[in-house]
Amino acid sequence: MEKLLILWDSTSIPHFEPGQIVMMLVGFGLLYLAIVRKFEPLLLLPIGFGALLTNIPLAGFSEAGGLLHYIYYVGVDTGVFPLLIFMGVGAMTDFSALIANPRMLLLGAAAQFGIFATLFGAILLNGLPWFDFSMQDASAIAIIGGADGPTAIFLASKLAPELLGAIAVAAYSYMALVPIIQPPIMRALTTPEERKLPMAQLRVVSKKEKILFPLAVLVLTLIFLPAATPLVGMFCFGNLLKECGVVDRLSYTAQNELINIVTIFLGLGVGSKLSADKFLTVETLGILALGAVAFSIGTATGVLMAKLMNKLSKDNINPLIGAAGVSAVPMAARVVNKVGLESNPHNFLLMHAMGPNVAGVLGSAVAAGILLALVGP
């Protein structure tokens, strides 16, 4: 009988706490979203599986000596994994649309308003008894509005590591929900005539321009905003690998094997933060709500900026493309194209929307650098 009790005690069943069961259900929920609904599967699948592993009683995945513990501290806590992802994203990004029409950077800038406006929301939530967000917490939450996963994880790991799991899940969830969140805002802020506007064809961009672009971005960043150079620098490095044309092997690795390997570990590392004591809090609900607010405000200000630019410009600027300024590459640009085609079946806005879309990546990295410089440790 004693042996049976020892055997029973060595199983997980008597050690399960209710919170762990709930978090495992959250993990299964993330796996469902990734596999069945195809919501950001590359990240949500490893995050969901990491949530399962970290909540297994007795396994000690996230305790000192556990695999997920090391993965988190080597790659996420140090900020290395998000930066390597950014390098891969840079190697996959084509800036032609932005270089051909550089004014689109203004849309990428306007859409960052969602980040800074959400700071107020986070502070106002402190008026409720369940919340106590510091300015660093508020900044880490607000960056969800940048709709850029690596940037959100990088900033959260620096400013509010205890909120990292909730922030990462919110950021990737909202990026997956772009096709649902953005179109109503885009339609509400534009007239049918505006949505039909065709735009002039973009000029051809030379190879030399594409090579000089990441170098120019890097020089401007290191002079004026060195706090943003980890993100922007790795992004530019990846892009230069792609555009210079002399290191195709490195470029290929950065945009394939390396980013895939890092994505696996980043997802598992973030998943390890989905433990019941950190995730099952009222603060998580607040973070999810604030993330949605940040994302919606960013979309709205991008569209409004595009409307203003259309009024002032002699060339047509379809206001819908402003919504792509929130980043979320390339999903936001695809949504712009889809909403544009609904109004005018001959109006393909995809390439025009890629300009503000990649501008949004730079804008959110710059915004993260500003927050790091102003409220960082």
């Binding site: 932005l98 270089i99 550089p102 004014r103 950077l105 203004l106 990428g108 800038a109 960052q112 308003f113 980040i115 800074f116 406006a117 700071l119 107020f120 502070i123 106002l124 402190n126 008026g127 300015m135 508020a138 900044s139 065709p198 002039a200 064809q201 051809v204 030379s206 190879k207 030399k208 321009e209 000089l212 672009f213 120019a216 971005v217 401007l220 960043t221 004026f224 905003l225 002699k314 060339d315 047509n316 501008a359 730079l362 804008g363 710059v366 915004a367 500003i370 927050l371 102003l374 409220v375």
Partner: protein, 97 residues
Amino acid sequence: MSTQMNDQLMEAGILLAVGMSVVFAFLILLIAGIHGIAWFCRKYPSAEVIPHAAHNRTIQDRTTQDNNKKSPTSVSPQVAAAITAAVHTHRHTTLKS
């Protein structure tokens, strides 16, 4: 509203103003930088071959040198002229002048 929250809201306001100003200033500088790069590349063009232009030239060469042996992918000058005229007309009718 507590004094601490007031202070935090004030700080958030300053972050909003400074943050958006710096984001806009940085990206406006980048716009100027991109225009500078474009100017530089126009002034000192490299000897790169633009695939699109090269393709057009190949088509022209083919059609002028060997009119009787057109490959299935070649385009006659008349068709090319008709397409150009149609695109020109479309742009003039649909875009702002």
